[in-house]
Amino acid sequence: MHLWLIPAFPLAGFLLNGIFGRRASKTFVNAVAVGAVLASFLWTLKTLGALWPLEALHLERYFTWIQAGDVRIGFDLAMDRLSAVMLLVITGVGLLIHIYSIGYMAHEGGYYRFFAYLNLFMFFMITLVLAANFLLLFVGWEGVGLCSYLLIGFWFLRSSATNAANKAFIVNRVGDFGFSIGIYLIYLHFGSLDFPEVFQAASRQPVEAGLGPLTLIGLLLAVGATGKSAQIPLYVWLPDAMEGPTPVSALIHAATMVTAGVYMVARCSAIYTHAPLAMEAVALIGLATAFLAATIGLTQFDIKKVFAYSTISQLGYMFLGAGVGAFGASIYHLWTHAFFKALLFLGAGSLIHALGEQDLRKMGGLRAKTPITFWTLLAAAVSISGVPFTAGFFSKDEILLAAYHHAPWMYWMGTLTAALTAFYVFRAIFLAFFGEPRGWSHAHESPPVMTVPLALLAVLSLIGGFAPVSRWLAPSFPAAQGHHETVLVAISVGAGLAGIALAWWFYVARPGLAERVAARLGAFYRLVYNKYFVDEIYRAALVQPVITSSQQMLWRKVDVGWIDGAVNGLAARACAAGDLLRRLQSGNLRSYAAWVLLGALGLLLTIGVAGGAR
């Protein structure tokens, strides 16, 4: 079916723009970049159509990539329902964001570079989801990380941007460290890295009670996932990643790349279901992240940061879903999240485009100036808040239900988080669009090339939930238990609505209340506002010690002091000995004669008297 064409189009786009883009016109760049993604999207659809209903895995082997010993890793692509969903999200949302970027980036330098990177990202992301073995998945995994790095640091003159880019890459590397070791273990345990073989073998194994190999593998893979999907403890890079252009935040840091971790966990469901401990860990991480990020989201004023924490939080939901066994729901949420979160970011981008400003405190009352943006953002907001029958409603509820069946407290926690989510999203909406303008002078609605994608995404955010994603995926995953319970649904919906209402209360009905509450909370507020000082703790506990000890201890002391010192000391010792010998060479003949005599007597005594020295 030529699956390879799906990633190949964006790759070609990348190469064309990368090599010729600098001298080419914007039209050319646009055509290549958008065309590549469009082609990819269309080919995905065609392939899907041809393979429908895609009940079994469709595997295509191309060539051997690495072979050594008994390892043979092919460049193999495979399509199943899971990757099909992912592909649709990636190419679909990706297409919209590409189009949106034409408008958003119109006045930026390095235009071609931006689109080249985006195309490259598409290539790696598609490779990631189509990969039929762990190592190829890892290629995509690292590749998207690279593109994320490049795009976060797109405005490389700003040191904040390049710092953020480095942070993103390096933190991801920490996760990948776990992932890599997981891969080594998979190979050791299963003797293969190919998905079909690994998962079949895994599903034949007994469920592990303790810390068995599968659990270990699961945990290690989860470490990788926490890096990529910005979960505790590795989430710190994502908020900083907002230094990148907004379409990047939408595409990479909301809709697609960050969900790769979820995808991977879902992909490895066969392993996880046999490793309940790992599952539990994933669920706990997800839940904790969801809650923690939501609390931070409450206090942020940078609109993109708010959405960034929201992303982290929503990804936490997905982890929770996967962790409690609702892989389908998890992917389902991934699917809906892609729409509304991309939309949130793109809308935010539209605002930024309009104002040149992303601090919520300097917005306000924009409803009239940017109506399309407002309405589309609102659509996203209701969706994320879980207002019934919007996309977010379906998927979030499915996760929460599954969580309830796993452990009720998780449900309650999740529901609380849902309320928080609704609150901070609407806080942002209200701050931006309602009330009085605060400090902006001219604002304008974005051009159609931006608003059309917004509108399309808004539609998807509202109705995307009707796509029966989790049901369609059900055969791929072990059955999740739990049935619809109206009461629970009502509670969570109520929580969402309460959040919205509270936001209205705080930011529209009683402006100024928020500040007072914040002041009342004092230290606690500052703690949350400063994101629990996690960055600072990491810096003080990890980064700085490493740097300092490397510099002071390893380099200055071990390298220069000890090793070179030892060598130099040896040399100095030799020279000192030489100097002594030279000094013995005093020029005094009588001394020399004494030496000769000494030698002769020594010889005489050893040979003549003692009869040999051996």
Binding site: S586, G587, N588, A594
Partner: protein, 104 residues
């Protein structure tokens, strides 16, 4: 002639003593000429050894060797004294401790 002879080893020990004395002079004397004379003393000691051993072996060879040693000593004396002369010309001294410009 009396039958009371002298043990051969006495001769040899006398030679050893003279040899040692020569070496002692070489080490302790500061005048180059004296040092050189001490070498002559050592050569004489060796000669005594040769002669004594020739007696011991009842061979003429030892005497021939002693003879050659004398020639060598004479040759050395000629050259050595010439060298000492040049040293004296350059430094107006034959004190060995004053001839130590060459060192580090």
């Amino acid at each position: 002639m009396s039958a009371a002879g002298v043990p051969l080893s006495w001769y040899l020990v006398l030679a050893a003593l003279l040899f040692t004395l020569g070496a002692a002079g070489f080490i302790f004397r500061r005048n180059i000429i004296t040092m050189f004379m001490c070498i002559e003393l050592m050569l004489n000691a060796v000669n005594l050894t040769f002669v004594a051993l020739a007696y011991h072996l009842r061979q003429v060879d030892g005497l021939v060797l002693a003879f050659f040693v004398m020639v060598v000593a004479a040759a050395e004396a000629a050259v050595g004294l010439a060298i000492i002369l040049t040293v004296f010309r350059n430094r107006a001294s034959v004190q060995i401790d004053e001839v130590q410009a060459l060192k580090d």
